[in-house]
Symmetry: C2
């Protein structure tokens, strides 16, 4: 007997003509409205089963691992409403013939904008200066400490995917000197390729983490990398919390071994090390780099387009290619 949750057409007792789409987690109104005009939405708790070919998964709710895939053996397509893929066991999906799509570059520009915003914020102390004005210090204490210039800084980008590339394009316009680390050199870019994270840190004033989270990039920013970055160095993380060894980062900041940080992600969200909360040289943000309402709307459309392509037997629009 198969113990998988059975799949049901949720909007009536008789099958609809619309293709069935498994949605194993709650949907916001915007998602629900958009998807239900195109698909018959199926929840895992429904009493009737179907052959449920495709599923929408969200990074917030679903680990797509062998346990999940065993529950839905007839799944042939998974679309995730994220850029990140660390919740999906891609090799297992490939082995089982399950196609995977993510939302491609929809979030990339927002994430890149945010990375640049965090960087300017840390360098020029914008967030801190807002506090300085609001608490009356400008009046009582006078001129505020100067920030640091962005132009001319050496920026090392960890991961030159769609987000990293968008960051590089933006920072180029600010007069920064861009280097990057990736598995191999990218054709068609003029930025300096540095194949080793320690060398990248040594040559950079600023490190920006914008790669995928994999076994290889877990804690890619460790104690040695922070030491190589040095006392004037700044870290920006809009990737995943686990890209950085957070306790080492905190210690480096406490000891003044690096200069500052702009963080959108943390190892144990929403919990954040107490030391960070009390620091003036960090800008903290609650995992919002990739989200704007405009991007969310784009993302819904991209997910729909992927499902429509799948049900029409066509190639997915934004398929995930397992990296070599």
């Amino acid at each position: 007997m198969n113990s998988s949750p059975s799949l049901t057409i949720s909007n009536g007792s008789s099958p609809s003509d619309l293709p069935p789409l498994l949605v194993p987690h709650p949907l916001s109104d915007a998602w629900s409205t958009a998807l239900s005009t195109k698909f018959t939405l199926i929840s895992p708790s429904s009493p009737h089963s179907t052959s449920g070919h495709a599923a929408l998964v969200s990074i917030s709710y679903n680990q797509v691992d062998p346990v999940f895939l065993d529950q839905y053996p007839s799944l042939r397509c998974i679309v995730t409403s994220s850029v990140g893929l660390d919740h999906i066991d891609l090799e297992e999906c490939q082995r089982r013939g399950v196609q995977v799509a993510n939302v491609g570059e929809s979030f990339s520009t927002d994430a890149a904008d945010y990375a640049v915003g965090l960087l300017i914020d840390v360098l020029r102390r914008i967030t801190l200066s807002d506090r300085y004005v609001r608490d009356g210090s400008w009046v009582t204490r006078g001129d505020y400490l100067l920030g640091s210039k962005l132009g001319g800084k050496h920026v090392g980008i960890v991961g030159l995917g769609s987000i990293g590339s968008a960051i590089a394009k933006r920072l180029k316009a600010f007069g920064c000197k861009i280097s990057y680390l990736s598995r191999k050199p990218k054709p068609d870019v003029s930025y300096k390729y540095i194949p080793n994270i320690y060398d990248l840190a040594t040559e950079s004033d600023i490190l920006i983490v914008s790669c995928s989270l994999t076994k290889e990039t877990h804690h890619i920013i460790n104690k040695q990398v922070l030491q190589a970055l040095g006392k004037e160095g700044i870290i920006i993380n809009i990737g995943r919390g686990a890209h950085i060894d957070e306790s080492e980062l905190v210690q480096s900041l406490v000891r003044g071994e690096i200069k500052g940080a702009g963080l959108d992600v943390y190892e144990d969200e929403p919990d954040i090390p107490k030391e960070l909360i009390e620091m003036e040289n960090v800008v903290l943000s609650p995992h919002r780099a990739v989200f704007t309402p405009e991007a969310m709307s784009d993302v819904i459309q991209i997910c729909i387009a992927n499902f429509e392509a799948f049900f029409a037997g066509k190639p997915l629009i934004t398929p995930v290619v397992v990296a070599d």
Copy 2:
């Protein structure tokens, strides 16, 4: 009898061979050290007089008006350690044959970086989200409100001088659509020229004020302009406080007639309207857009180069050209 303060060689009782330079206000150590190796620094309160040919003036201390010029009738060159020139009566200087230089584009890139930083901050709520994280709201209240996308926004730049041009170049890399207002269309730029501030506001999602403060641009952002900008509109001001009718801006923000603002300058610095301090949709900064230590160092060198050119009878390096 001439009631002008007499000018004295401050570093000794006998004249130095170094050219005399009037410094009518206190200097920081960095300025003092750099200038005193090249010039004999003269303070207005010194007991001996000289023919003092050149003067360094600062926007924070000096109004260069007929009263000031009457005090130093032998002045033939004024260099200001600012980009802005609203403290200098340029026509009066021209009439009296006094050359004027400012610091050219040294501050422009820093000011442009800051404008972009303020804009991303307002749109994506970075400063506010830092407060949200630090006060524990991420843990107790959950996900934070989404910000707004920068890419695709129509940005109207008020004044396409060196700062405005640097802002435009940066925002182009973010995918913004740039329009600008200036006295006349700029050759060699592809941005849309809009000769009227009301039309510019109507067509823009975001207005960035980066022009000089003159009689014509005093309160260039008034009630009607704010209304034309509309409910979704955002204002960034890195110019001067008096570019905006501040009480109208505050009312527009209070009534939700515009969406937000990023302000580095105010009409009565360091005093700021109480309403702004209590608002969540504004980012406030204590007139720091143009300052970084790196730029300050550049600025000292540029001022020295101008003085050296003047004393050598050569054209100034970064002369101010009175606009036609």
